[in-house]
């Protein structure tokens, strides 16, 4: 398998980071785990959905910040979530909105059973207005992109693992 060092797609700052990607297979933008989001991405590598939890509000929040965006408490911890939820909203992208994506593909916001919402792709289902609905139950499935990045995707509950 050919490996090259490739600059990440969005490169402005922080200064040039290089990540190992399999260019022939993966051309989509990759996240750069920042200091405050690193626990989320590290958990993804072990196929766990770990989210920041505010000990003051006693509730999860997302995306990760150093503090709780509701109460501005900085007393937070990381807790694993079930990986189950429902499609809060979705759209079917018929034009590639980012490099590397082959339309049609499904973008969605999933509301986890624990409350917070993640943006993701729905896989394991025909991308069609006829097949996908808001409130559809979904569960996490993992796409191991490289040594550093595993992406949490979601599929309808009961669907075969079919990460694209």
């Amino acid at each position: 398998m050919r490996r090259v060092r490739r600059r990440q797609f969005f490169d402005a700052t922080p200064p040039s980071r290089y990540v190992e990607v399999h260019v022939a297979e993966y051309a989509k933008p990759l996240p750069w785990p920042s200091p405050e989001t690193r626990p989320f991405w590290d958990a993804c590598k072990r196929h766990a959905l770990s989210l920041p939890y505010c000990r003051s509000c006693e509730a999860f929040f997302f995306y990760p910040r150093q503090f709780c965006p509701r109460c501005f408490s900085w007393d937070i911890e990381w807790r694993d979530c079930s990986g189950r939820g429902v499609i809060y909203t979705f759209a079917i992208q018929y034009r590639p909105q980012m490099p590397g994506f082959t339309p049609p593909y499904v973008t969605a916001i999933v509301q986890l059973d624990e409350g917070p919402r993640l943006l993701t792709n729905i896989v394991g289902i025909e991308p069609s207005p006829e097949t996908i609905r808001c409130d559809m139950p979904v569960e996490v499935t993992w796409e191991d992109v490289n040594e550093e990045i595993t992406l949490p995707l979601f599929r309808p509950v009961g669907a075969e693992a079919a990460a694209s």
């Binding site: 990440q8 797609f9 969005f10 490169d11 402005a12 700052t13 922080p14 980071r17 989509k28 933008p29 990759l30 996240p31 750069w32 785990p33 920042s34 989001t37 997302f62 995306y63 809060y88 909203t89 979705f90 759209a91 079917i92 992208q93 018929y94 034009r95 590639p96 909105q97 980012m98 994506f101 049609p104 593909y105 973008t107 969605a108 916001i109 919402r117 993640l118 943006l119 993701t120 792709n121 207005p129 808001c134 409130d135 992406l151």
Partner: protein, 386 residues
């Protein structure tokens, strides 16, 4: 202290050509629109002492003032996407009212269409890879406006029963206005069925739910009330202003079915001291049909969730009782990227009675609301003529 009636727009115009203008760059468009707006007012460039702009490099006003040969006493590079220019009007009103400047020039120019084919160094996307959208949205193929607005619209459809037909009503009514405007890019007849049978861009959006991508520029000139009657055209008074932003990323959006127009609109209506029923003509951002629908709700013209039925039956078309986006909108007139300037110019033209076949009879009071980003930042203006 209120800004009501403290300033007036005395000049407003666009570039000579809009649409596909391959022989102009963005800064050329800023300059030509500025010349045209100053000429419209009858003000010499030497009188301009304040410049408000964005979208030309990282120090837009500095770049533009160099290019135009203006040494300003006051500048503002506020960049809130498509709503920047409405917010510039508010900031100009505040600065003039505070005695910091006298003649404010607000400019816009973009070549959204022609830039796609240009060579040379390109500015980066402007995203810091550590910011939330780059980490938690772009890796999933979310980025361009169709990919984000579509998900907001879907939630609105799910919660409130808004339909593709409701959205199509707006596309069709807006096209009817464009058919009355010789400068509009899209003037062919359009039916609801045409919209519903057109191809998907991002379900639930058909292609006719999406705005154009064009080249265009515009500018307005704002002066204090005491000088407003000195110029060639009748003044268009700034009666109410408001601005608000609630999020930048989709994940940061407090409620997918809302926009900050609920805040900027409330502020502008309260300052102006007018009610929704008093408004003669409405200009709202239509990057997508849905943008206009949700904005009308958020401004309070109808109850939350009832934008679809409220705007149906071609109510916003020429001859309807809710004239909206009378130049043909971003959907059919022009949309270079940050469309807010064109809402402003059209409102001024309507209030002056300059609109010919598309003139709303007796228009004295206009509500303008522009949206920037992903339903992120809005500016609302209530404008009136004598």
């Amino acid at each position: 202290m209120s800004l009501k009636n403290k300033v007036a727009i005395v000049g407003a115009d666009e570039t000579d050509q809009i649409g596909i203008v391959p022989d102009m760059t963005p800064i050329m468009m800023h300059a030509q629109a500025a010349r045209n707006a100053l000429r419209d007012a009858g003000i010499d460039k030497s009188e301009v002492d304040a410049v408000f702009t964005c979208g030309i490099g990282g120090m837009a006003s500095v770049q533009l003032c160099e290019y135009l040969g203006i040494i300003p006493h006051f500048t503002d590079n506020t960049m809130t996407g498509g709503s920047s220019f409405e917010i510039h009007v508010e900031h100009a009103a505040a600065a003039i009212n505070a005695g910091l400047c006298n003649v404010a020039l607000i400019t816009h120019g973009e070549t959204g269409f022609s830039s796609r084919n240009r060579r040379g160094p390109r500015p980066s996307y402007g995203f810091d890879s550590s910011l939330p959208a780059a980490q938690f949205e772009m890796p999933f193929g979310v980025g361009g406006p169709p990919s984000t607005y579509s998900m907001a619209a879907m939630r609105h459809m799910h919660e409130y029963g808004t339909t593709s037909e409701h959205l199509a009503e707006i596309a069709v009514a807006t096209r009817k206005w464009a058919q009355l405007n010789p400068r509009a890019m899209m003037r062919d007849p359009l039916t609801i069925e045409d919209v519903l049978s057109s191809r998907w861009i991002a379900y639930p959006f058909h292609i006719y739910d999406c705005c154009l991508v064009t080249d265009a520029g515009g500018a307005v000139v704002v002066v204090g009330a005491e000088r407003a009657r000195e110029f060639k055209k009748k003044p268009v008074w700034v009666l109410g202003t408001g601005e608000a932003s609630t999020h930048q990323s989709l994940l940061g959006m407090p409620d997918l079915t809302q926009t900050p127009a609920r805040y900027s609109g409330k502020a502008a209506f309260e300052m102006a001291g007018v009610s929704h029923d008093d408004i003669d003509v409405v200009q709202v951002y239509d990057s997508f049909t849905y943008t206009a629908l949700v904005t009308i709700e958020e401004l309070g013209f109808c109850k939350k969730g009832e934008g679809g039925p409220f705007l149906s039956n071609q109510r916003t078309a020429p001859g309807g009782d809710f004239p909206m986006n009378t130049n043909g909108g971003g959907l059919s007139y022009t949309h270079p990227g940050m469309y807010g300037m064109f809402l402003l110019v059209e409102a001024v033209r309507q209030l002056r009675g300059e609109c010919g076949p598309r003139q709303v009879p007796g228009a004295k009071l206009a509500c303008v609301n522009a949206t920037g980003g992903l339903l992120s930042a809005t500016g609302t203006l209530i404008l009136g003529s004598d």
